[in-house]
């Protein structure tokens, strides 16, 4: 449990794995089902927990500690590895049936007909979530529309935020440090603190607010949603930092730079989402990255100009 919490916060998540191979849950016999999963410990634990009290053979594939979905995309939760594991564990001698139960999200890496050809085992894509496995097993192994439904609700988005925060921590701290240093050198450390706060707020708008408010922010592009969150923060920041005393160049700079920062972080959230397509993200990046870069640059130029007045 602690391990899972730590992994959600990015601590040791690249090493959170179990050895691949055939595991026995309960006391399975030759006629009991075979469920296949990845060797990312979080995946493994979720499947085990879902199947508590049942007798199941659990075939764990070597995905180098990566979860099913990402490993399938990379090919490690794949045909080759599945065939290898079935063979090396001598599964055909352990069970009398010829059926493998796979997660639907493993399908991007596994070719069912190839597996059948090479091992004699038929692949059934049981469900999206491991939690549905008991119902699947009890209803005669039929995948219902509900079991096929992929969600990305508030809670599911929420749990992905800590790892994104921790991942961004280093670069954000460095950039923040640079602002403080520069402002100290230029003799106005208070301004540096203000810039830091503005910057941190923009980061949080992109890393936290963007994902949480995802369905309610406008547009299909994550970068755009992030920019809107950034704009909202810019408005808030200007209010908090003393609206009237800011000159218009600085205000313009704020409204250009901060949304650019938020947009960048929100764009990164596409990696956590099971809804964005490769072509869509490519298109988004081709447009969004130059726009962000331009906005940031222009904003910084304005800031520089403002310091001369």
């Amino acid at each position: 449990m602690l391990g899972a919490w730590k992994a959600r916060w990015g601590m040791g998540r690249m090493n959170y794995m179990v050895p691949p191979g055939l595991y026995a849950l309960g006391k399975p016999t030759a006629s009991d089902p075979v469920v296949v999963t990845a060797n990312y410990k979080m995946s493994y634990d979720i499947v085990r927990r879902a199947l508590v009290g049942r007798n199941i053979w659990l075939l764990v594939l070597e995905t180098y500690g990566i979860n099913v979905w990402c490993a399938a995309g990379k090919g490690t939760f794949g045909t080759g590895e599945l065939v290898r594991r079935v063979t090396s564990s001598k599964l055909a001698e352990v069970v009398s049936h010829r059926r493998l139960l796979l997660p639907i999200l493993g399908a991007p890496g596994v070719s069912a007909h190839e597996v059948a050809q090479q091992t004699g085992f038929n692949v059934s894509y049981a469900a999206i979530r491991a939690a549905e496995l008991p119902a699947y097993l009890d209803n005669g192994m039929v995948t219902t529309p509900a079991m096929r439904e992929l969600t990305f609700n508030f809670y599911e988005r929420l749990v992905l935020i800590p790892v994104e925060l921790v991942g961004a921590l280093k670069s954000v701290a460095v950039i923040g440090g640079v602002f403080l240093l520069l402002s100290a050198i230029l003799g106005d450390p208070a301004a540096g603190v203000l810039v830091c706060c503005a910057y941190l707020g923009a980061c949080l708008a992109g890393i936290v607010a963007g994902p949480l408010l995802l369905p309610w922010l406008p547009g299909r592009s994550f970068a755009l949603k992030g920019a809107v969150a950034g704009l909202l923060w810019s408005g808030l920041f200007c209010q908090l930092a003393g609206g009237e005393s800011r000159n218009s160049l600085v205000t313009a700079a704020v409204f250009l730079c901060l949304p650019a920062v938020s947009a960048f972080f929100a764009l990164n959230f596409t990696g956590c989402s099971p809804f964005t397509s490769r072509s869509g993200v490519k298109k988004e990046m081709r447009i969004a990255l130059p726009v962000m870069g331009g906005a940031l640059l222009f904003g910084l130029v304005l800031l520089l100009a403002a310091s001369f007045f």
Binding site: G271, K282, M285
Partner: protein
């Protein structure tokens, strides 16, 4: 996003096995009279599961890592600015 998916289905080759419906996380396909068809192309996230699991290769799609970080890593590797396999999970 609208209209960006590279998904293509060759109905002439399709044998109506239904695997594409089984593996698609977004119900992009439908099956009628032993032929599959694309019912919601914009929902496609190009994961590639359908193309990989079609026994007659009736489906084609430009699949691969689809996260911004992964694409940036790919772009950097193409321009030899980053070693392949460097970085973390999305490389």
């Amino acid at each position: 996003m609208k209209d960006v998916a590279t998904l293509k289905l060759d109905q002439a080759v399709c044998i109506g096995c239904g695997r594409c419906l089984e593996v698609c996380p977004h119900q992009v396909f439908s099956l009628a009279e032993k032929k599959a068809s694309i019912r919601d192309r914009d929902a496609c996230m190009e994961c590639g599961a359908c193309a990989l699991n079609c026994p007659v290769k009736a489906i084609a799609v430009d699949a691969g890592v689809g996260c911004a970080e992964g694409l940036i890593n790919e772009w950097l590797q193409e321009r030899k600015l980053l070693k392949p396999g460097g970085g973390n999970c999305c490389s």
